[in-house]
């Protein structure tokens, strides 16, 4: 009986949390048009969460591509299909690795920064002060950060994939001597617009999900040092799990 009750309570808490996040998203989206009136705030946030994540995204993209090159070459040369390295690695980067790893890195680098920043604003009464100045913090603080994140992730995904393909090429063509023409021509022949679109759509969805988790956790953080710390941790954990679940669902739909 206790187990059943605990299960029911857990389920109830989960449904309540999903409901709360959905209502929060509706509030944020409701304020988004007013936030868009001042694009400067959103551009600032794209810079904060996007441009400042470039180094980590590019570094990781390069190394993921290089590892993919090594593993892909090792696998394909067993079948004498080294020329297919460009196609295989590009599809892997476009459809899975690019969007997923970018989202995970975004959650770790920018998501935590967003959650802790908003949480600290709550803890130091800055959000209450805004409310007292008749300024809605959802419009002034949350919506620009949410939109900035949602815009930045697809852009970062494209950059990650591009650098990743360069990394594959570096290993496959430069190190192992795969024919350059075959590498690029097979890739161009086999990768179509739908594959590119799949990566971009995933990037957009993960961007919205990770940004939403970060701003929600920050905004609802308990206004104490422990509360902000917990919100930051939860941002990473929830974003990572949500990204992988959404990845499965999107893949199942788009395959």
């Amino acid at each position: 009986m206790n187990l059943l009750r605990e299960l029911f309570e857990t389920l109830r808490a989960f449904v309540a949390a999903v409901g709360a996040v959905t209502l929060f998203l509706v509030r944020v989206l409701g304020q988004a048009p007013r936030a868009l009136v001042r694009p400067g705030l959103i551009v600032d946030q794209v810079h904060n969460v996007g441009a400042l994540s470039l180094v980590i995204i590019m570094t990781c993209g390069l190394f993921v591509g290089m590892v993919l090159g090594l593993q892909g070459y090792d696998l394909l040369q067993r079948f004498g299909s080294e020329d297919a390295l460009g196609t295989g690695a590009t599809l892997a980067l476009l459809k899975e690795l690019g969007p997923v790893v970018t989202a995970l890195l975004f959650a770790g680098r920018a998501g935590t920064a967003l959650a802790s920043e908003i949480g600290l604003m709550r803890a130091t009464d800055q959000l209450t002060a805004m409310e007292m100045m008749a300024v809605d913090p959802i419009r002034r603080v949350v919506a620009p950060r949410f939109l900035g994140g949602a815009i930045a992730v697809p852009l970062l995904t494209v950059i990650f994939i591009s650098i990743g393909i360069f990394g594959v090429q570096l290993i496959g063509v430069q190190q192992f001597g795969v024919d350059t023409a075959a590498f690029w021509s097979q890739m161009r022949a086999s990768v179509d617009m739908n594959d590119v679109l799949e990566g971009v759509i995933k990037g957009c969805v993960f961007g919205v999900a990770c940004s939403l988790v970060a701003v929600y956790e920050g905004y609802t953080a308990t206004p104490t040092p422990e509360g902000v710390g917990r919100a930051t941790t939860r941002t990473v954990v929830i974003s990572a799990v949500l990204t992988l679940i959404l990845d499965y669902m999107l893949t199942a739909v788009m395959l």
Partner: protein
């Protein structure tokens, strides 16, 4: 309450009840804040002074009772109406609550930029005027992290005044300040109130400063107003709790000891404190 006094008041609180969980914070609170005066709200720690400010400003709603700001029933207002009302209020937080990613100038300009379409030159003039009034015109480009506690509160005061509100609310404005900063804040509150024709509510337990400052004072305890009037009237009050508070006596109706098991028994008992005798008192 007479109609005349209502017309003369900017905030009216009638029979307000408010609880957090099982804990009753207010049980029938009544209060009137006269227009154009400085009203002090005092009381021992934990009596709900800050909660009262949050009720007046509509951050939380009472369980029952009426809270009027200039005739508008605050708890019944929709978000948009509440925000319209808050443009007529300014609030000074205990820690200043300055926006940490903006410098002093931008902090003071913030409400003007959010609520008006004033040209930049006019915003600059208003901001410099407000900062001059609090003596910090020279600190326009400092970041909040570069300000002392007293300076941060003065900047917050300039920001609260930026839109020329009708009511200024000060939450513990003297807490943690050195005597010089405290004296500055006292003088500023008085000067602003008189020069700008504001109404001020000051929540604090710094009796000396409030005695110098307040036109009207309330002492809250046990969820109700236990004394109201000028400082002279409060000093003449025969309530034990009022005397304890004004004289700063460590023990009295507000006990020094938090309710605890019997001291003697607890020291001798070979048991965990939680399982010990739960009778209250400090023991003999």
């Amino acid at each position: 309450m007479t109609d005349a006094s209502e017309a003369d008041s900017i905030v009216e609180i009638r029979d307000v009840h408010y609880s957090v969980g099982d804990r009753e914070i207010f049980s029938g609170l009544n209060m009137t804040v006269p227009r154009g005066r400085i009203t002090a709200i005092m009381g021992p720690s934990g009596t709900g002074k800050t909660t009262l400010l949050r009720l007046i400003t509509g951050q939380i709603k009472p369980d029952r009772g009426v809270i009027l700001f200039d005739g508008h029933e605050v708890p019944r207002l929709k978000r948009r109406e509440l925000y319209a009302l808050r443009r007529r209020m300014g609030m000074l937080f205990q820690n200043g609550a300055l926006l940490t990613d903006m410098d002093v100038f931008e902090n003071v300009a913030f409400p003007l930029r959010e609520h008006t379409d004033l040209p930049e030159s006019l915003i600059r003039q208003i901001v410099l005027t407000k900062l001059q009034a609090v003596g910090l015109r020279g600190a326009v480009r400092l970041m909040p992290s570069e300000l002392s506690g007293g300076m941060a509160r003065r900047v917050a005061l300039a920001r609260a005044m930026a839109t020329d509100p009708d009511l200024l609310i000060y939450d513990e404005p003297f807490a943690g300040l050195d005597p010089i900063s405290m004296g500055m804040i006292v003088r500023l509150v008085r000067r602003m109130n008189n020069a700008l024709g504001l109404t001020s509510i000051v929540v604090s337990h710094d009796v000396q400063e409030l005695a110098e400052l307040a036109d009207m004072s309330y002492i809250i305890s046990g969820g109700k107003v236990v004394a109201a009037g000028s400082f002279g009237e409060l000093r003449a009050h025969n309530s034990q709790i009022v005397n304890q508070f004004l004289e700063g006596l460590p023990d009295g109706p507000v006990p020094f000891h938090y309710p605890a098991p019997d001291y003697y028994e607890q020291l001798l008992a070979d048991r965990e404190p939680e399982t010990a005798n739960t009778s209250t008192g400090t023991g003999s």
